[in-house]
Protein backbone atom coordinates (compact mmCIF):
# COMPACT_ATOMS: atom_id res chain seq x y z
CA UNK A 1 0.00 0.00 0.00
CA UNK A 2 1.65 3.16 -1.13
CA UNK A 3 0.51 6.56 -0.02
CA UNK A 4 1.57 9.68 -1.88
CA UNK A 5 4.21 11.99 -0.41
CA UNK A 6 1.68 14.77 -0.12
CA UNK A 7 -0.55 12.63 2.04
CA UNK A 8 2.40 11.61 4.20
CA UNK A 9 3.21 15.27 4.62
CA UNK A 10 -0.39 16.03 5.57
CA UNK A 11 -0.38 13.29 8.19
CA UNK A 12 2.96 14.29 9.63
CA UNK A 13 1.95 17.92 9.86
CA UNK A 14 -0.70 16.98 12.39
CA UNK A 15 1.61 15.19 14.78
CA UNK A 16 2.95 16.61 18.05
CA UNK A 17 6.58 17.82 18.13
CA UNK A 18 7.74 14.87 20.23
CA UNK A 19 6.69 12.40 17.54
CA UNK A 20 8.20 14.46 14.77
CA UNK A 21 11.57 14.68 16.46
CA UNK A 22 11.61 10.90 16.62
CA UNK A 23 10.50 10.48 13.04
CA UNK A 24 13.49 12.47 11.83
CA UNK A 25 15.40 9.23 12.40
CA UNK A 26 13.27 7.14 10.07
CA UNK A 27 14.86 8.02 6.77
CA UNK A 28 16.54 11.00 5.08
CA UNK A 29 13.41 11.84 3.14
CA UNK A 30 11.42 12.31 6.33
CA UNK A 31 14.31 14.03 8.07
CA UNK A 32 14.60 16.60 5.30
CA UNK A 33 10.85 17.03 5.15
CA UNK A 34 10.47 17.64 8.86
CA UNK A 35 13.29 20.19 8.87
CA UNK A 36 12.06 22.03 5.78
CA UNK A 37 10.72 25.56 6.39
CA UNK A 38 7.53 24.89 4.45
CA UNK A 39 6.72 21.87 6.59
CA UNK A 40 7.49 23.75 9.80
CA UNK A 41 5.15 26.52 8.67
CA UNK A 42 2.42 24.05 7.73
CA UNK A 43 2.75 22.31 11.09
CA UNK A 44 2.57 25.65 12.89
CA UNK A 45 -0.52 26.76 11.02
CA UNK A 46 -2.22 23.45 11.82
CA UNK A 47 -1.41 23.90 15.50
CA UNK A 48 -2.62 27.49 15.57
CA UNK A 49 -5.82 26.57 13.81
CA UNK A 50 -6.51 23.31 15.61
CA UNK A 51 -9.89 23.05 17.23
CA UNK A 52 -8.55 20.46 19.62
CA UNK A 53 -6.75 21.76 22.64
CA UNK A 54 -3.93 19.26 22.55
CA UNK A 55 -1.78 21.56 20.47
CA UNK A 56 -1.65 24.16 23.24
CA UNK A 57 0.39 23.73 26.38
CA UNK A 58 0.85 25.92 29.41
CA UNK A 59 4.33 26.87 30.58
CA UNK A 60 4.50 27.61 34.28
CA UNK A 61 7.27 29.26 36.15
CA UNK A 62 6.89 28.36 39.79
CA UNK A 63 8.77 27.74 42.97
CA UNK A 64 8.69 24.40 44.71
CA UNK A 65 10.23 22.96 47.79
CA UNK A 66 13.42 21.06 47.31
CA UNK A 67 13.33 17.61 48.83
CA UNK A 68 15.07 18.27 52.13
CA UNK A 69 14.54 16.54 55.42
CA UNK A 70 13.89 19.60 57.45
CA UNK A 71 10.99 21.52 55.98
CA UNK A 72 11.01 24.53 58.26
CA UNK A 73 11.16 27.87 56.50
CA UNK A 74 10.75 26.32 53.07
CA UNK A 75 10.14 29.69 51.47
CA UNK A 76 13.53 31.20 52.04
CA UNK A 77 17.08 30.25 51.31
CA UNK A 78 18.11 27.19 49.43
CA UNK A 79 15.19 24.98 50.30
CA UNK A 80 13.27 26.05 47.27
CA UNK A 81 13.99 26.00 43.61
CA UNK A 82 12.39 27.68 40.64
CA UNK A 83 11.23 25.48 37.83
CA UNK A 84 9.58 25.66 34.48
CA UNK A 85 6.82 23.13 34.03
CA UNK A 86 4.73 22.23 31.04
CA UNK A 87 1.09 21.39 31.40
CA UNK A 88 -0.52 19.59 28.49
CA UNK A 89 -3.41 17.39 27.53
CA UNK A 90 -2.64 13.78 26.76
CA UNK A 91 -5.60 13.09 24.57
CA UNK A 92 -8.63 14.70 23.06
CA UNK A 93 -11.21 14.42 25.81
CA UNK A 94 -12.10 18.03 26.39
CA UNK A 95 -14.19 18.07 29.49
CA UNK A 96 -12.13 15.67 31.48
CA UNK A 97 -8.98 17.07 33.04
CA UNK A 98 -7.80 13.70 34.28
CA UNK A 99 -5.51 13.33 31.31
CA UNK A 100 -3.68 16.54 32.04
CA UNK A 101 0.03 15.95 32.46
CA UNK A 102 2.36 18.27 34.31
CA UNK A 103 5.98 17.76 33.40
CA UNK A 104 9.00 19.63 34.65
CA UNK A 105 10.94 21.02 31.73
CA UNK A 106 14.53 19.83 31.74
CA UNK A 107 16.65 22.89 31.26
CA UNK A 108 20.37 23.10 30.66
CA UNK A 109 22.64 24.49 33.38
CA UNK A 110 22.78 27.04 34.84
CA UNK A 111 19.04 27.40 34.34
CA UNK A 112 18.52 24.33 36.51
CA UNK A 113 20.11 26.04 39.51
CA UNK A 114 17.83 29.01 39.82
CA UNK A 115 16.71 29.57 43.36
CA UNK A 116 14.80 32.81 43.50
CA UNK A 117 11.76 33.17 41.33
CA UNK A 118 12.73 36.70 40.42
CA UNK A 119 15.92 35.43 38.75
CA UNK A 120 13.94 33.90 35.91
CA UNK A 121 11.19 35.68 34.06
CA UNK A 122 9.09 34.68 31.10
CA UNK A 123 9.20 37.70 28.81
CA UNK A 124 6.86 36.88 25.97
CA UNK A 125 6.16 34.04 23.61
CA UNK A 126 5.19 33.52 19.99
CA UNK A 127 4.66 30.51 17.73
CA UNK A 128 5.78 28.12 20.40
CA UNK A 129 8.99 29.98 21.22
CA UNK A 130 9.33 31.51 24.67
CA UNK A 131 11.64 34.37 25.59
CA UNK A 132 13.19 34.16 29.05
CA UNK A 133 15.10 36.70 31.06
CA UNK A 134 17.67 35.18 33.43
CA UNK A 135 19.40 37.14 36.16
CA UNK A 136 20.21 40.49 34.61
CA UNK A 137 21.11 40.99 30.99
CA UNK A 138 20.76 37.38 29.85
CA UNK A 139 18.09 36.59 27.28
CA UNK A 140 17.33 33.00 26.40
CA UNK A 141 14.98 31.85 23.66
CA UNK A 142 13.53 28.41 24.09
CA UNK A 143 11.12 26.10 22.31
CA UNK A 144 9.96 23.76 25.09
CA UNK A 145 8.29 21.35 22.66
CA UNK A 146 11.54 20.46 20.90
CA UNK A 147 13.82 21.25 23.85
CA UNK A 148 15.90 23.86 22.08
CA UNK A 149 17.61 26.66 24.01
CA UNK A 150 19.61 29.63 22.77
CA UNK A 151 21.43 32.34 24.71
CA UNK A 152 21.37 35.63 22.86
CA UNK A 153 24.47 37.82 22.47
CA UNK A 154 25.01 40.63 24.95
CA UNK A 155 23.25 43.95 24.60
CA UNK A 156 24.67 46.44 22.13
CA UNK A 157 23.67 49.35 24.35
CA UNK A 158 26.41 50.60 26.61
CA UNK A 159 25.57 51.17 30.22
CA UNK A 160 25.90 54.82 31.18
CA UNK A 161 29.01 54.15 33.18
CA UNK A 162 30.62 52.62 30.12
CA UNK A 163 29.78 55.52 27.92
CA UNK A 164 31.90 58.69 27.97
CA UNK A 165 29.03 60.67 26.47
CA UNK A 166 27.20 60.74 29.79
CA UNK A 167 30.11 61.72 32.01
CA UNK A 168 29.50 65.44 31.68
CA UNK A 169 26.03 65.22 33.16
CA UNK A 170 25.40 66.02 36.78
CA UNK A 171 22.97 63.27 37.46
CA UNK A 172 24.08 59.96 38.66
CA UNK A 173 22.80 57.18 36.47
CA UNK A 174 22.92 54.60 39.12
CA UNK A 175 20.18 52.24 38.22
CA UNK A 176 18.73 50.76 35.14
CA UNK A 177 15.99 48.29 34.56
CA UNK A 178 15.44 46.40 31.37
CA UNK A 179 12.29 45.07 29.79
CA UNK A 180 11.88 42.66 26.95
CA UNK A 181 9.39 41.79 24.28
CA UNK A 182 9.42 38.97 21.76
CA UNK A 183 7.43 38.33 18.62
CA UNK A 184 7.31 37.78 14.91
CA UNK A 185 7.81 40.51 12.33
CA UNK A 186 5.44 39.64 9.48
CA UNK A 187 7.07 42.13 7.11
CA UNK A 188 10.67 41.06 7.59
CA UNK A 189 9.55 37.47 8.21
CA UNK A 190 11.79 37.06 11.21
CA UNK A 191 11.56 36.65 14.95
CA UNK A 192 12.63 39.65 16.96
CA UNK A 193 13.39 40.50 20.56
CA UNK A 194 13.01 44.11 21.63
CA UNK A 195 14.71 45.36 24.76
CA UNK A 196 14.28 48.77 26.25
CA UNK A 197 16.23 50.09 29.17
CA UNK A 198 15.07 52.76 31.50
CA UNK A 199 17.66 54.62 33.49
CA UNK A 200 16.52 56.09 36.76
CA UNK A 201 17.58 58.86 39.08
CA UNK A 202 17.47 62.55 38.41
CA UNK A 203 17.14 62.18 34.69
CA UNK A 204 15.34 59.47 32.87
CA UNK A 205 16.63 57.75 29.81
CA UNK A 206 14.89 55.30 27.58
CA UNK A 207 16.91 53.42 25.02
CA UNK A 208 15.89 50.50 22.90
CA UNK A 209 17.44 47.79 20.78
CA UNK A 210 16.19 44.99 18.60
CA UNK A 211 17.57 41.48 18.07
CA UNK A 212 16.68 39.52 14.94
CA UNK A 213 17.03 35.75 14.80
CA UNK A 214 18.21 35.88 11.20
CA UNK A 215 21.15 38.16 11.92
CA UNK A 216 21.73 36.84 15.45
CA UNK A 217 22.68 40.34 16.58
CA UNK A 218 21.33 43.43 18.29
CA UNK A 219 21.02 46.92 16.90
CA UNK A 220 19.78 50.09 18.53
CA UNK A 221 16.46 51.58 17.46
CA UNK A 222 15.72 55.27 17.62
CA UNK A 223 12.80 56.35 19.70
CA UNK A 224 11.22 59.65 20.61
CA UNK A 225 10.67 58.57 24.19
CA UNK A 226 14.25 59.23 25.22
CA UNK A 227 13.56 61.52 28.14
CA UNK A 228 10.35 60.16 29.51
CA UNK A 229 9.74 57.94 32.42
CA UNK A 230 8.38 54.54 31.59
CA UNK A 231 8.10 51.86 34.18
CA UNK A 232 6.70 48.53 33.28
CA UNK A 233 4.06 47.76 35.88
CA UNK A 234 5.58 44.66 37.28
CA UNK A 235 7.71 43.25 34.51
CA UNK A 236 5.73 40.08 34.61
CA UNK A 237 4.22 38.28 31.72
CA UNK A 238 0.62 39.13 32.43
CA UNK A 239 1.39 42.78 32.01
CA UNK A 240 2.84 42.25 28.57
CA UNK A 241 2.15 40.20 25.46
CA UNK A 242 2.67 39.80 21.74
CA UNK A 243 -0.25 39.96 19.37
CA UNK A 244 -0.41 40.18 15.58
CA UNK A 245 2.91 41.83 14.92
CA UNK A 246 2.89 44.17 17.92
CA UNK A 247 4.23 43.82 21.45
CA UNK A 248 2.36 45.43 24.36
CA UNK A 249 3.50 46.35 27.88
CA UNK A 250 1.51 47.94 30.67
CA UNK A 251 3.54 50.90 31.89
CA UNK A 252 3.51 54.07 33.93
CA UNK A 253 3.83 57.00 31.59
CA UNK A 254 3.34 60.74 31.66
CA UNK A 255 -0.41 60.22 31.46
CA UNK A 256 -0.55 57.59 34.19
CA UNK A 257 -0.96 53.88 33.59
CA UNK A 258 -1.24 53.09 29.92
CA UNK A 259 -0.05 50.62 27.36
CA UNK A 260 3.20 50.96 25.47
CA UNK A 261 3.28 49.13 22.17
CA UNK A 262 6.09 48.24 19.78
CA UNK A 263 5.41 47.37 16.16
CA UNK A 264 7.83 44.57 15.27
CA UNK A 265 7.72 45.43 11.59
CA UNK A 266 8.03 49.22 11.64
CA UNK A 267 10.02 49.17 14.91
CA UNK A 268 8.02 52.08 16.29
CA UNK A 269 6.80 52.61 19.83
CA UNK A 270 3.34 53.95 20.56
CA UNK A 271 1.11 54.67 23.52
CA UNK A 272 -2.45 53.38 23.98
CA UNK A 273 -4.71 54.60 26.74
CA UNK A 274 -6.69 52.41 29.12
CA UNK A 275 -10.37 53.32 29.69
CA UNK A 276 -9.91 54.22 33.36
CA UNK A 277 -12.98 56.44 33.39
CA UNK A 278 -15.14 53.37 32.85
CA UNK A 279 -13.36 51.10 35.30
CA UNK A 280 -14.30 51.26 38.98
CA UNK A 281 -11.87 52.81 41.45
CA UNK A 282 -9.49 50.40 43.12
CA UNK A 283 -9.52 48.15 40.11
CA UNK A 284 -6.52 47.39 37.98
CA UNK A 285 -6.16 45.70 34.61
CA UNK A 286 -4.30 42.74 33.21
CA UNK A 287 -3.42 42.17 29.55
CA UNK A 288 -4.44 39.02 27.76
CA UNK A 289 -5.57 37.51 24.48
CA UNK A 290 -9.15 36.40 24.16
CA UNK A 291 -11.15 35.30 21.14
CA UNK A 292 -8.48 36.53 18.75
CA UNK A 293 -8.28 40.03 20.11
CA UNK A 294 -6.36 41.92 22.76
CA UNK A 295 -8.21 41.98 26.03
CA UNK A 296 -7.99 43.77 29.34
CA UNK A 297 -9.19 41.93 32.41
CA UNK A 298 -10.16 44.34 35.11
CA UNK A 299 -9.97 43.03 38.65
CA UNK A 300 -10.42 44.58 42.07
CA UNK A 301 -7.33 45.39 44.11
CA UNK A 302 -9.08 45.14 47.45
CA UNK A 303 -10.89 42.03 48.66
CA UNK A 304 -14.46 41.96 47.46
CA UNK A 305 -16.85 39.11 47.93
CA UNK A 306 -18.04 37.66 45.65
CA UNK A 307 -15.25 38.11 43.11
CA UNK A 308 -15.94 39.01 39.54
CA UNK A 309 -13.86 40.31 36.65
CA UNK A 310 -14.70 42.27 33.52
CA UNK A 311 -13.21 41.59 30.12
CA UNK A 312 -12.61 44.47 27.72
CA UNK A 313 -11.64 43.90 24.13
CA UNK A 314 -9.72 46.32 21.93
CA UNK A 315 -11.58 47.49 18.88
CA UNK A 316 -9.76 47.51 15.55
CA UNK A 317 -6.87 45.46 16.75
CA UNK A 318 -4.84 46.47 13.76
CA UNK A 319 -5.05 50.14 14.65
CA UNK A 320 -2.82 51.05 17.57
CA UNK A 321 -5.03 53.87 18.71
CA UNK A 322 -7.91 51.48 19.35
CA UNK A 323 -10.63 51.96 21.92
CA UNK A 324 -12.06 49.34 24.25
CA UNK A 325 -15.45 47.66 24.59
CA UNK A 326 -16.61 45.76 27.63
CA UNK A 327 -17.52 42.27 26.48
CA UNK A 328 -18.13 40.02 29.41
CA UNK A 329 -18.24 39.81 33.16
CA UNK A 330 -16.75 36.69 34.69
CA UNK A 331 -18.16 35.41 37.91
CA UNK A 332 -19.02 35.81 40.65
CA UNK A 333 -17.01 32.72 41.34
CA UNK A 334 -18.22 30.57 44.15
CA UNK A 335 -15.91 28.83 46.51
CA UNK A 336 -12.60 29.99 45.07
CA UNK A 337 -10.62 32.96 46.22
CA UNK A 338 -8.35 34.37 43.58
CA UNK A 339 -5.48 36.53 44.75
CA UNK A 340 -5.99 39.94 43.36
CA UNK A 341 -2.63 41.10 42.23
CA UNK A 342 -0.05 39.59 39.92
CA UNK A 343 -0.99 35.94 40.05
CA UNK A 344 -1.27 34.39 36.58
CA UNK A 345 -4.40 34.75 34.52
CA UNK A 346 -4.28 32.99 31.19
CA UNK A 347 -6.99 32.32 28.66
CA UNK A 348 -6.75 28.74 27.58
CA UNK A 349 -8.95 26.91 25.12
CA UNK A 350 -10.91 30.06 24.32
CA UNK A 351 -13.49 29.55 27.03
CA UNK A 352 -11.30 28.59 29.96
CA UNK A 353 -9.42 30.94 32.25
CA UNK A 354 -6.46 29.57 34.14
CA UNK A 355 -5.80 31.14 37.53
CA UNK A 356 -3.93 30.55 40.74
CA UNK A 357 -6.07 30.40 43.85
CA UNK A 358 -5.19 31.92 47.20
CA UNK A 359 -4.13 28.53 48.55
CA UNK A 360 -1.62 28.06 45.73
CA UNK A 361 -3.61 25.58 43.69
CA UNK A 362 -4.15 26.12 39.98
CA UNK A 363 -7.72 26.32 38.81
CA UNK A 364 -9.41 26.53 35.47
CA UNK A 365 -12.64 28.48 35.24
CA UNK A 366 -15.01 27.63 32.39
CA UNK A 367 -16.63 30.84 31.15
CA UNK A 368 -19.68 29.19 29.63
CA UNK A 369 -20.52 26.67 32.30
CA UNK A 370 -19.17 28.89 35.10
CA UNK A 371 -17.53 25.97 36.81
CA UNK A 372 -14.17 25.69 38.51
CA UNK A 373 -11.77 22.78 38.14
CA UNK A 374 -8.52 22.16 39.97
CA UNK A 375 -5.49 21.19 37.92
CA UNK A 376 -2.66 18.84 38.99
CA UNK A 377 -0.11 21.53 39.70
CA UNK A 378 0.46 23.85 42.60
CA UNK A 379 2.83 26.40 43.99
CA UNK A 380 4.62 26.93 47.21
CA UNK A 381 5.47 30.23 48.72
CA UNK A 382 4.80 33.50 47.09
CA UNK A 383 2.75 33.40 43.92
CA UNK A 384 3.84 36.97 43.37
CA UNK A 385 6.51 35.86 40.94
CA UNK A 386 4.60 32.99 39.41
CA UNK A 387 3.95 33.19 35.71
CA UNK A 388 2.00 31.16 33.21
CA UNK A 389 1.69 31.38 29.45
CA UNK A 390 -0.32 29.34 26.99
CA UNK A 391 1.93 28.45 24.07
CA UNK A 392 1.29 26.45 20.92
CA UNK A 393 3.32 23.29 20.29
CA UNK A 394 5.53 23.98 17.31
CA UNK A 395 8.73 22.73 15.77
CA UNK A 396 10.01 26.18 14.89
CA UNK A 397 13.74 26.12 15.39
CA UNK A 398 15.70 28.95 16.97
CA UNK A 399 19.03 27.57 15.79
CA UNK A 400 19.77 26.60 19.34
CA UNK A 401 20.81 23.43 21.06
CA UNK A 402 20.46 21.78 24.39
CA UNK A 403 23.33 23.58 26.11
CA UNK A 404 23.75 27.11 27.37
CA UNK A 405 27.10 28.70 27.86
CA UNK A 406 28.12 32.08 29.07
CA UNK A 407 25.21 33.08 31.24
CA UNK A 408 26.42 35.91 33.39
CA UNK A 409 25.29 35.43 36.94
CA UNK A 410 28.21 37.14 38.65
CA UNK A 411 26.51 40.48 38.53
CA UNK A 412 23.63 39.18 40.48
CA UNK A 413 25.22 36.93 42.97
CA UNK A 414 28.41 38.97 43.10
CA UNK A 415 29.29 42.02 45.12
CA UNK A 416 28.21 44.63 42.61
CA UNK A 417 24.58 43.74 42.80
CA UNK A 418 21.79 45.21 44.82
CA UNK A 419 19.36 42.86 46.45
CA UNK A 420 16.67 43.40 43.87
CA UNK A 421 18.82 42.58 40.89
CA UNK A 422 19.69 45.97 39.52
CA UNK A 423 23.25 46.90 38.80
CA UNK A 424 24.92 49.73 40.56
CA UNK A 425 27.03 51.80 38.21
CA UNK A 426 30.41 52.55 39.66
Amino acid sequence: MHVSEEIVEQILSRLPPKSLMRFKCVCTLWCNLIKSPSFVAKHLSNSLRASSSSSVSILFKHTVEKKVENNDHAETGDDVETLLSSLYLCNEIDDDFDDLVAEVLRVPPPMNQIIRSSDLRIAGHCDGITCLKIFVGNVVLCNPAIKEFKLLPKSCLLLPNDNDEYKYLDCELRYYTEFLGFGYDPKGKDYKVVRFEVYEESCYWFRAEVYTLGSNSWREVETEYTYREFFVMSGYCDEQMFFEGIYYWQVYGDVGRCILSFDMGDEIFNVISIPWEEIPDEYHVRLGEWKEAIALISCPTVPVVPQSFDIWVMNNSGNVKGSWTKCLTIGPMEGVEIPLLYAPLVFWKSDELLMVAEDGRVVSYNLEKQTVKYLPIHFVGDYFHTQAVAYVNSIVSINGGNKLEGIDNTDFYGINALGDGRLRAV
Binding site: M1, V3, S4, E6, Q10, L15, S19, R22, C25, C90
Partner: protein, 139 residues
Protein backbone atom coordinates in the same frame (compact mmCIF):
# COMPACT_ATOMS: atom_id res chain seq x y z
CA UNK B 1 -33.47 20.16 -11.60
CA UNK B 2 -30.18 18.96 -10.21
CA UNK B 3 -27.84 16.83 -12.27
CA UNK B 4 -26.95 13.27 -11.43
CA UNK B 5 -23.32 12.19 -11.61
CA UNK B 6 -22.10 8.66 -12.25
CA UNK B 7 -18.98 7.46 -10.43
CA UNK B 8 -17.43 4.24 -11.65
CA UNK B 9 -15.13 2.14 -9.49
CA UNK B 10 -12.12 0.20 -10.75
CA UNK B 11 -14.14 -3.03 -10.54
CA UNK B 12 -16.83 -1.57 -12.79
CA UNK B 13 -19.55 -0.71 -10.33
CA UNK B 14 -21.44 2.55 -10.86
CA UNK B 15 -22.71 4.86 -8.15
CA UNK B 16 -25.25 7.58 -8.86
CA UNK B 17 -24.65 10.75 -6.92
CA UNK B 18 -26.79 13.90 -6.68
CA UNK B 19 -25.21 17.19 -7.67
CA UNK B 20 -24.92 18.63 -4.16
CA UNK B 21 -22.99 15.63 -2.90
CA UNK B 22 -20.91 15.22 -6.05
CA UNK B 23 -19.72 18.81 -6.07
CA UNK B 24 -17.97 18.31 -2.73
CA UNK B 25 -15.27 16.83 -4.94
CA UNK B 26 -13.04 19.34 -6.70
CA UNK B 27 -12.17 16.73 -9.31
CA UNK B 28 -15.81 16.27 -10.24
CA UNK B 29 -16.42 20.01 -10.09
CA UNK B 30 -13.76 20.69 -12.67
CA UNK B 31 -14.70 17.77 -14.87
CA UNK B 32 -16.53 18.39 -18.12
CA UNK B 33 -18.37 15.09 -18.01
CA UNK B 34 -20.92 13.74 -15.51
CA UNK B 35 -19.39 10.28 -15.76
CA UNK B 36 -16.16 9.84 -13.84
CA UNK B 37 -14.08 6.73 -13.46
CA UNK B 38 -12.03 6.55 -10.30
CA UNK B 39 -8.97 4.41 -10.99
CA UNK B 40 -7.48 2.12 -8.34
CA UNK B 41 -10.50 2.46 -6.07
CA UNK B 42 -12.77 -0.54 -5.60
CA UNK B 43 -16.54 -0.37 -5.12
CA UNK B 44 -16.42 -1.05 -1.40
CA UNK B 45 -14.29 2.05 -0.81
CA UNK B 46 -15.95 4.28 -3.38
CA UNK B 47 -19.29 3.43 -1.85
CA UNK B 48 -18.12 4.70 1.52
CA UNK B 49 -16.85 7.93 0.00
CA UNK B 50 -20.22 8.45 -1.68
CA UNK B 51 -21.91 7.78 1.65
CA UNK B 52 -19.77 10.52 3.25
CA UNK B 53 -20.59 12.97 0.49
CA UNK B 54 -24.30 12.27 0.73
CA UNK B 55 -24.24 12.80 4.47
CA UNK B 56 -22.35 16.08 4.18
CA UNK B 57 -24.49 17.37 1.34
CA UNK B 58 -27.69 17.07 3.36
CA UNK B 59 -26.38 18.92 6.37
CA UNK B 60 -25.17 22.48 5.84
CA UNK B 61 -23.80 22.96 9.32
CA UNK B 62 -20.58 20.98 9.70
CA UNK B 63 -20.22 22.05 13.32
CA UNK B 64 -23.36 20.15 14.20
CA UNK B 65 -22.68 17.68 17.01
CA UNK B 66 -24.49 14.81 15.26
CA UNK B 67 -22.41 15.17 12.12
CA UNK B 68 -19.26 15.27 14.23
CA UNK B 69 -20.20 12.02 15.90
CA UNK B 70 -21.09 10.46 12.56
CA UNK B 71 -17.72 11.59 11.15
CA UNK B 72 -15.86 10.17 14.14
CA UNK B 73 -17.50 6.80 13.58
CA UNK B 74 -16.86 6.99 9.86
CA UNK B 75 -13.08 7.25 10.34
CA UNK B 76 -12.91 4.56 13.01
CA UNK B 77 -11.92 1.87 10.59
CA UNK B 78 -9.10 -0.56 10.10
CA UNK B 79 -5.92 1.20 8.94
CA UNK B 80 -5.90 -0.56 5.56
CA UNK B 81 -9.36 0.74 4.82
CA UNK B 82 -8.25 4.13 6.10
CA UNK B 83 -5.41 4.39 3.62
CA UNK B 84 -7.61 3.26 0.77
CA UNK B 85 -10.16 5.91 1.71
CA UNK B 86 -7.41 8.51 1.75
CA UNK B 87 -6.33 7.54 -1.75
CA UNK B 88 -9.89 7.85 -3.02
CA UNK B 89 -10.62 11.12 -1.24
CA UNK B 90 -7.30 12.51 -2.44
CA UNK B 91 -8.02 11.58 -6.08
CA UNK B 92 -11.47 13.12 -5.84
CA UNK B 93 -10.01 16.13 -4.01
CA UNK B 94 -12.55 16.20 -1.20
CA UNK B 95 -10.58 18.40 1.17
CA UNK B 96 -12.72 18.00 4.27
CA UNK B 97 -12.67 14.22 4.00
CA UNK B 98 -8.91 14.10 3.42
CA UNK B 99 -8.46 16.32 6.50
CA UNK B 100 -10.57 14.06 8.68
CA UNK B 101 -8.85 10.90 7.46
CA UNK B 102 -5.31 12.24 7.85
CA UNK B 103 -6.20 13.57 11.29
CA UNK B 104 -7.33 10.07 12.23
CA UNK B 105 -4.05 8.54 11.06
CA UNK B 106 -2.18 11.25 12.97
CA UNK B 107 -4.13 10.42 16.12
CA UNK B 108 -3.36 6.73 15.75
CA UNK B 109 0.33 7.46 15.41
CA UNK B 110 0.26 9.88 18.32
CA UNK B 111 -1.36 7.32 20.55
CA UNK B 112 1.37 4.82 19.80
CA UNK B 113 4.39 7.09 20.03
CA UNK B 114 3.50 9.14 23.09
CA UNK B 115 3.77 6.03 25.22
CA UNK B 116 7.46 5.73 24.56
CA UNK B 117 9.86 7.44 26.93
CA UNK B 118 13.02 9.33 26.06
CA UNK B 119 14.25 9.93 22.57
CA UNK B 120 17.91 9.96 21.74
CA UNK B 121 18.81 11.19 18.34
CA UNK B 122 20.27 9.67 16.31
CA UNK B 123 20.87 6.11 17.39
CA UNK B 124 20.49 2.98 15.36
CA UNK B 125 18.18 1.34 17.89
CA UNK B 126 15.69 4.15 17.95
CA UNK B 127 15.58 4.20 14.18
CA UNK B 128 14.72 0.54 13.97
CA UNK B 129 12.10 0.81 16.70
CA UNK B 130 10.43 3.72 14.98
CA UNK B 131 10.55 1.98 11.60
CA UNK B 132 8.85 -1.08 13.03
CA UNK B 133 6.16 0.95 14.68
CA UNK B 134 5.40 2.78 11.47
CA UNK B 135 5.37 -0.46 9.48
CA UNK B 136 2.75 -1.81 11.80
CA UNK B 137 0.65 1.24 11.04
CA UNK B 138 0.79 0.67 7.32
CA UNK B 139 3.50 3.05 6.14
Amino acid sequence: MSRVFKLKSSDNETFEVEEAAALLSETIKSSSSTEITVPNVKAEILGKVVEWCNKHAESEDTKDQLIKEWDAEFVSVDQHVLFKLITAADYLQIKELVDQLTQRVGDMIKAKTLKTVEMTYPTFNVEREVQEELKSLGF
